[in-house]
Symmetry: C2
Subunit: 247 residues, 2 copies
């Protein structure tokens, strides 16, 4: 345990399950002496990564909120995509959720989510939530546009040695490349249908996708066509503005 991982082993303890820890609890959980955790926690607190709450408990601190804002402010994808999303979701004229997601290392993470006024859909997509890499239209539309080498590295751990599944997945991606969009149902959230199109900016090194999610039983053929059209045109606008953007 050294360098950053020392600090991360502490930070990773804070999750949905338990967001409030005492030093003693952390020490027990990590099986590290109390005095060591005290030192680590003190340093994390000093830099705003942890904050004291009540009765000797600590929770995640403001530094993360600040850094996230810094990313939102400087990320061309959020800057260019944000305004587009609101219009996009409104244009559908149905309860729906618009999502702009992005490949971040080896995971797909939602960067912007826009709920259409009145949409009470229960999607898993919300900013900052890691998404399954090989399931759902959002992720597939991203993977479909990647260069072969990058793709291979990503799929390796996901499929392991199952050559058959890997081959059929590659076929699926190839179909997305041809048609320009991807539709899936229930792969991430049950009862929901997602339509996604690829978005990318080689100049910025960003691989992303733009998706719309509606209730599966609300989907009609004409709605589907409309959604695809909306997505394709929004995506090309977005790609255009990304091209001009510089960070």
């Amino acid at each position: 345990m050294s360098g950053l991982s020392r600090f991360l082993s502490v930070l990773r303890c804070f999750d949905e399950t338990k967001s409030n820890w005492t030093v003693q609890e952390l020490a027990d959980r990590l099986e590290v002496p109390t005095s060591t955790i005290y030192r680590t926690v003190r340093e994390l607190s000093a830099h705003g990564f942890l904050e004291p709450s009540t009765e000797a408990h600590y929770r995640l601190g403001s530094a993360f909120v600040e850094f996230d804002r810094m990313i939102r402010v400087t990320d061309p994808l959020v800057q260019c995509g944000g305004p587009l999303m609101r219009d996009l979701a409104a244009e559908v004229g149905q309860p729906c959720v618009a999502v702009l997601a992005r490949l971040y290392g080896d995971r797909v993470i939602c960067a912007v989510d826009e709920r259409y006024n009145g949409a009470d859909l229960l999607t898993s997509y919300e900013r900052g939530r890691p998404m399954p890499l090989v399931r759902g239209a959002t992720s597939k539309a991203i993977l479909a546009q990647l260069p072969a080498r990058r793709l291979r590295k990503l799929l390796q751990p996901a499929f392991g040695s199952d050559a058959k599944k890997l081959a059929s997945f590659r076929t699926e991606l190839s179909n997305i490349r041809k048609s320009g969009y991807c539709i899936t149902e229930g792969e991430v959230d049950p009862e929901l249908r997602g339509v996604a199109v690829p978005v990318s900016s080689a100049a910025l090194g960003i691989s992303a996708s733009l998706s719309l999610i509606v209730r599966a039983n609300a989907m009609t053929e004409s709605l589907e066509r409309r959604m695809i059209l909306l997505l394709v045109s929004s995506a090309s606008m977005l790609a255009g503005s990304l091209g001009k953007a510089q960070d």
Copy 2:
């Protein structure tokens, strides 16, 4: 340079001004050997705090986005306050911005900002942005509710030895305690008027405030009364649900 600060000196380089750095640039800026920065950057990347972009440049990584989500998901203030904010902003019936801010260590940081449909106000308030500690209704409403000892420590660095200013500031806070709200104009953003009320939960160790911001020239006496009423009732609802919340 040791422990966390080694990593932070790198991370702090990434700001609005420049969000995209090469290792060489970082090394020059920090006056540290290149190989050391490479190691630091590698470690930060491995944990998702930095991400390679293009041409040997790096930018802030997805870990911050994920941790921020974790905070949003687990923070009772965001959980209880979020839904309230939308209604609050809508009720005003004027272009306005609703802000829920909070004391985080020694700084006030906005936790939720809700723009009323059609409000194009240029407020500085947005989630994650650090705010001036002693200026603006939002901050003053927070400070007004703090225990004496805590307050003293916070004001020490802000006012230094200027006992006169300190005394008048304390008087101001005392007036807020009596009236239950605070109104300021142009202290943070020119031409804007803010009304704020304190919110707190002793059980959770949270000191916060709820504010509404409108254009100064749109303010009338009756609107002001309405806003104060809305804020006071929202704040008491919020305090109530915070009391029941547990993290």
